[in-house]
Each structure stands twice: as structure tokens, then as C-alpha cells.
């Protein structure tokens, strides 16, 4: 905690606290979840960066979408994302959430996750190793620092389009819209 760190803390405690205390939602969405346990335990220890798995979305502000997103999981992802509290960031693992990856022609997986919930960062690699996850976290820090990790603001502003896309897929969702 050198001197300019303390200066940053005093100037913008919200940014600094958001950076150094990212609690990830403990929800395995795809094949990438196998990378999370080694990254939070002894070998790679994510807790050094302040990342611990949060028991429920209300206490979390980081959502790791690990791997391909099937239609059934997308419903749970949207529900969990909407239950997370406001300054929230999402990171997509691998190429499947970007453009469908190797399931590009499957009838059951989502091609562009970005159409349904905002994603702040992507990690390349068909299941990135823990080191890659930590590099992504440091990039997320700089994004937060420069106020570019604004996925949640984008979600709030264009909620109508997001909601329309979600309803296009499922016909009708059984929970009311989040923002009027």
C-alpha cells in the first residue's frame, strides 16, 4: 500500500473497492467451470486479488460465463444477472459465448451472448487456464479504472432491446421486466 495507492483510495474509494473485491457468482454455466476450482484454491489462489466465490448473486459483482451457453442455461443466466446488484461485471470464457464457437450450427446453443446480456470482457482459449483468468482480471481492473466496464449501464439504457431479444427466444419470460 504505497503512497499513491492511498491517494487513489481517497480520491475514488468506489473504483478501488470495486477493483480489489470482486466476488464471483458461484454458478457454473458451461464446460469452463472446471477452471474455477484450481484458480481459487492453493495452486493459483484467486483470493490474493480479492476474488472469492459468493454464495448468491446479491453478494456478487462479477459473473463468469464459463463456456457455451445452451438455451436452458441462458434463462438462468439472465435471471441471475438481473438479481446481481448494480456495479456488476461479466466476463465470457472461450469463443463459444462470442460466436457459438464449435457449436456454431447447433440448434440448442446461443450464438452471440452479447445480444442477451452485456459482457464486459472476453477471454480467448477453449477454456483459458487460471493464469489467463487472472490476466483478464487485471484487464478488468484497468477497465474499471477507466470507467469502461459499463456493461450494467448499457443493460439499463437499452433494456427494451435486451428484453425484446430475450422474449424472441423464449416467447414469454415468466418474470416481470427489471426496469420500467
Amino acid at each position: 500500500m504505497d503512497r499513491n495507492q492511498i491517494g487513489k483510495w481517497l480520491r475514488s474509494p468506489q473504483k478501488m473497492s470495486n477493483k480489489y473485491s470482486l466476488h464471483a457468482v458461484y454458478f457454473c454455466t458451461g464446460c469452463g467451470i472446471i477452471e474455477i476450482p484450481p484458480s481459487i484454491t492453493t495452486r493459483w489462489d484467486a483470493e490474493r486479488f480479492g476474488i472469492i466465490p459468493a454464495p448468491n448473486p446479491r453478494q456478487a459483482n462479477l459473473f463468469l460465463i464459463t463456456g457455451y451457453v445452451s438455451l436452458k442455461t441462458l434463462k438462468a443466466i439472465i435471471r441471475t444477472y438481473e438479481q446481481m446488484l448494480e456495479p456488476k461485471y461479466t466476463v465470457g470464457f472461450g469463443s463459444c459465448p462470442i460466436n457459438g464457437g464449435m457449436y456454431w450450427d447447433s440448434y440448442n446453443t446461443i450464438k452471440k451472448l452479447d445480444k442477451y446480456i452485456p459482457i464486459d470482457g472476453w477471454i480467448a482459449g477453449c477454456m483459458p487456464r487460471p493464469e489467463a483468468i487472472f490476466v483478464a482480471v487485471t484487464h478488468l481492473w484497468t477497465l474499471i479504472e477507466k470507467d469502461m466496464a459499463t456493461g450494467y449501464i448499457k443493460y439499463r439504457k437499452n433494456y427494451k432491446q435486451y428484453r425484446a431479444n430475450q422474449e424472441k427466444i423464449y416467447g414469454s419470460l415468466d418474470w416481470p421486466p427489471l426496469y420500467k
Partner: protein, 170 residues
């Protein structure tokens, strides 16, 4: 002791059996005698229904339902080797319908729901014939060979627009 193969042959007439493999017996029958065959084998001690699956023969315009039975406890037929009995039957592809075997084997329920959802075979007498895995419903069941998945992906996922940022004035 008579072998299992002979027992089935003299009881059921239009049955083609081939026990070429070491511990597997294939039985092809018509769709009427499947249920009685399953019942008979269950009394013999083959009370474990391992799997129900369906094969789509598009060119003959038929589905092939496959039932795999095996026995947990050893009975007199097992003394030579552990045998799996695989029963196959053919049903027509249009308006595919078949009787449900839930009253014989309780655990057939999810298999039949899965085949109903992915192949469109309607099982008569099934208490809860509802979709099991898929979230949305497709007009042609996805596992059928004539379901063109690429065409579906193009016209279903393509027409979902990308989110354009509304540059609001504030």
C-alpha cells in the same frame, strides 16, 4: 438347461434371434409382440431395463425402437456368461405411435419422454409426456434426420438483432 435362445424361439413365432456376439442376444420382432416379450423376459429375471433408444431410418421411412435388458441377480441362464438382450422393432415414421412400457418398467419414463421430445414418437399411456431437455419447441423434432440444423440456426438466431447503443442525450 435349454439355452435362452431356444426358449424365446419356441414361445414367440416371428422372432429373428442372433447371438453372434459373446454376451449379447439381438432379438428382432414386430411391434405387437414387444410388450409380451419384455414381460416374459422380466419373469425370467431380466428385470433391469438399461436403455430405450430410437434410430431414424429416413430412407425406409421408419423408426427403430431399441430396448436393452439385463439382469442384476444371476439366474440359471447366467451361468455361462452375462447376457444383454437387445430387442429391436420397427414402427412407421408418420404419426409415430407406440405403447408405453411404464407399467412394466418404471424407469422407462424419462427415456420415453426424451424420444417423444427429440423424435416425435407418441407413447400411449405415458402419464407425463412433457418436454424434458429443450427450452423451446421446434416444428420438426431436432433429432430427426430431415431436420436441417444449419437452416434452423440461420433463420432462428440470425433474425435476433444486435443491440445498438442508444446514444441518449444526457
Amino acid at each position: 438347461m435349454k439355452k435362452l435362445k431356444d426358449k424365446i424361439e419356441d414361445l414367440f413365432d416371428n422372432v429373428i434371434i442372433n447371438d453372434f456376439y459373446q454376451n449379447r442376444i439381438f432379438v428382432k420382432t414386430n411391434k405387437e409382440s414387444v410388450v409380451s416379450l419384455l414381460n416374459y423376459l422380466k419373469e425370467l429375471g431380466y428385470d433391469h431395463l438399461a436403455l430405450v433408444s430410437c434410430v431414424d431410418h429416413v430412407e425406409e421411412n421408419e423408426f427403430e425402437l431399441v430396448y436393452i435388458l439385463s439382469a442384476y441377480i444371476h439366474n440359471e441362464h447366467e451361468n455361462q456368461e452375462k447376457t444383454n438382450i437387445i430387442i429391436k422393432t420397427r414402427i412407421s415414421r408418420e404419426k409415430a405411435k407406440f405403447t408405453s412400457i411404464i407399467n412394466l418398467f418404471e424407469n422407462a419414463e424419462p427415456y420415453e419422454r426424451e424420444i417423444f421430445e427429440l423424435f416425435g414418437v407418441d407413447f400411449v399411456g405415458h402419464p407425463r409426456l412433457k418436454p424434458l431437455f429443450l427450452e423451446i419447441n421446434y416444428e420438426t423434432p431436432p433429432f430427426r434426420k430431415d431436420f436441417d440444423t444449419r437452416k434452423f440456426v440461420d433463420d432462428f438466431f440470425a433474425n435476433i438483432p444486435i443491440i445498438e447503443e442508444i446514444e441518449d442525450e444526457k
